[in-house]
């Protein structure tokens, strides 16, 4: 065990996977990861690896695609607007079936500009055809990267490891950093399923018309569905090699006899486990279901874990504007028609601290049916109302974000005064 920054632990885990091409373009909060890998390439600690400083995120993913198609193990990392800027290439990596591995240090998307954590970036590309894994803590973040290369190359699909920006990337905690020997015994050298070779030329990614496009897409879907079987197998093998459990589809905590089950992804799962323990001490049977694999969505595993629940609360760090929860919709679909009522709690947007006391109060009330269909945790309603009022009163009421920022400041000043 080492007391280490999350980004550093991930950099070491990725390096132990012996990537041959690492493309880097800096964007907060993933920068520490590629910086650390860059340093390892420079000192020769990570050998046989080309570290390429590219000119944009679009180039980062494009170079990763090229490298992967040429038979190299390719890795990159990004966040937020960086992911959106590379979105076209993100779809291409999946469409081409190239086993690129990418860290997504989850961060909100502007406007207004915000560098802090939420899951909007991951949600924006959830249908791109990548496997999306979410880390609950930094041990999981490190371990999931090792499994990601294995999964990606076994299935020939790209894998994205999502870890909460700042909350995990910048957190110091104890991590068993995967050793080179362990990783070498778990992850064989990359054997590409398809490779661009001048001696045996082929085209990949050429035009496909209506006569075969559906079939190509269906195959992509079938591959991801097959990942639902592969992911637990890889987790099992990981357990045998490393002696600790990581990965898998879902991570249930005290759900067996739970009346209320709280579903969530990423680092908030840790906070929720503490809340579940607290509420159980008060006599409420609460459990937590961490979703480790978000894409492909493990519907059967989710249904099984939620079978006995009377109420399901889904805590999400993102939402579909104009509708509500994204994960909640998947959970509802997975549970089918006879499901328990589901309430969505949107929390932690743009780095807003997920206040355990507020969240515990909501969960405590959920069995009495006190939760609305969609709740925004700790929403400053007076500030929103004031802006709505302004907008109603004048056509040119000014930019809303700046108006509300000012109102929040004067609210705080009034409280202190």
């Amino acid at each position: 065990m080492r007391q280490i920054e999350g980004s550093q632990a991930v950099a070491e885990a990725v390096a132990a996977c012996r990537p041959e091409v690492v493309c880097a373009y800096p964007i907060t909060p993933q920068t520490h990861i590629v910086e650390a890998i860059g340093a390892m390439v420079r000192t020769g600690r990570l050998a046989n690896c080309e570290f390429i400083n590219v000119e944009s995120e679009f180039a980062a993913m494009s170079v990763a695609i090229g490298a992967s198609a040429a038979g190299a193990r390719a890795y990159t990392a990004t966040a937020s607007q960086g992911l959106l800027f590379m979105a076209e290439a993100v779809y291409n990596a999946a469409g081409l079936g190239l086993p690129v591995v990418m860290t997504l240090a989850n961060r909100a998307i502007g406007a207004p500009i915000n560098i802090w954590n939420d899951h909007s970036d991951a949600m924006a590309v959830r249908d791109a055809g990548w496997v999306q894994l979410f880390a609950e803590d930094n041990q999981a973040a490190a371990d999931l990267h090792v499994q990601a290369f294995r999964l990606a190359e076994d299935l020939s699909v790209p894998v994205m490891v999502c870890m909460d920006g700042f909350v995990l990337t910048h957190a110091f905690e104890a991590v068993e950093v995967p050793t080179q020997e362990q990783v070498d015994s778990f992850l064989p050298p990359y054997e590409p399923r398809q490779v661009l070779d001048p001696d045996d030329p082929v085209s990949i990614g050429a035009m496909v018309g209506p006569e075969a496009f559906e079939e190509v897409r269906y195959l992509q879907h079938a591959k991801l569905v097959r990942a639902l079987e592969k992911i637990p197998q890889v987790a099992e093998e990981f357990y045998h090699s490393f002696g600790r459990y990581a990965g898998g589809l879902v991570s249930p905590y005290r759900t067996d006899d739970a009346h209320t089950v709280v579903v969530a992804m990423g680092s908030v799962v840790g906070t929720l486990k503490d809340i579940a323990d607290q509420l159980r001490q008060k006599g409420q049977k609460v459990g937590v279901l961490g979703i480790t694999t978000f894409r492909p969505f493990p519907a059967a595993a989710v249904r099984e874990a939620l079978w006995g629940a009377r109420v399901v609360v889904v805590v999400e760090k993102a939402f579909s504007t104009g509708f509500g929860g994204v994960l909640s919709t998947d959970v509802a679909t997975a549970m089918g028609p006879l499901r328990a009522p589901i309430a969505t709690v949107v929390a932690g947007l743009g780095g807003r601290p997920v206040n355990a006391a507020s969240l515990a109060a909501l969960i405590e009330g959920s069995e009495r049916g006190s939760l609305e269909k969609v709740t925004f945790l700790d929403l400053n309603r007076p500030v929103v109302d004031r802006e709505l009022e302004r907008m109603g009163a004048r056509r040119r009421s000014g930019p809303s974000a700046e108006n509300m920022l000012r109102d929040v400041a004067s609210q705080a000043a009034a409280q202190e005064g």
Binding site: E5, D137, F166, V167, H170, F172, E173, A174, T271, N355
Partner: protein, 194 residues
Amino acid sequence: MFQVRVHGRGGQGVVTAAELLSVAAFIDGRSAQAFPSFGSERMGAPVVAYCRISDAPVRTREPVVAPDAVILQDLTLLRVEDVWQGTTASTFVLLNSPKPWAELAGAEVLSRFDPERVAAVPATEIALSQVGRPIPNAALLGGFAALTGAVSLAAINQAIRERFAGPVGERNVAAAGEAYRMVDLARHSSAWEV
């Protein structure tokens, strides 16, 4: 669980202080978690960092809202933000100040705390003389070890040496040791305030 909040300004090593504290607790055989408040990173801007020390693995990720100890690296922050948020009479308070805390302007605000749990150390002055730079974090960590007993000085020293190799590490260890002795001595003398 022992929860610590470090308040300071960008450039004073606030985040490093919380990180080193977590490393020291780890060296002592405890579980620990440290993370910054994720403010915009620029010199002089208020920065908050957190550290939790526990015998069980730390799972929660929320910022520290009810601190067992507050380290204040820069007294000018008293006018800027509510550094006492969530504190109680039994919260430990460690101030970076060349004056004894009872002589500080606005010292009455400290009267709400148990005087046995309040200390001031001239951490910037110690850092200037020992390290040659006005970065008070190492000295404050030494003072923190003496005031709270939540970590050992030996672990603080090891954490500093692991982060800063060679003479820089040794100078910071000296700063931590000087502050430790000042607080420790004061706690065991009648006029215990430093």
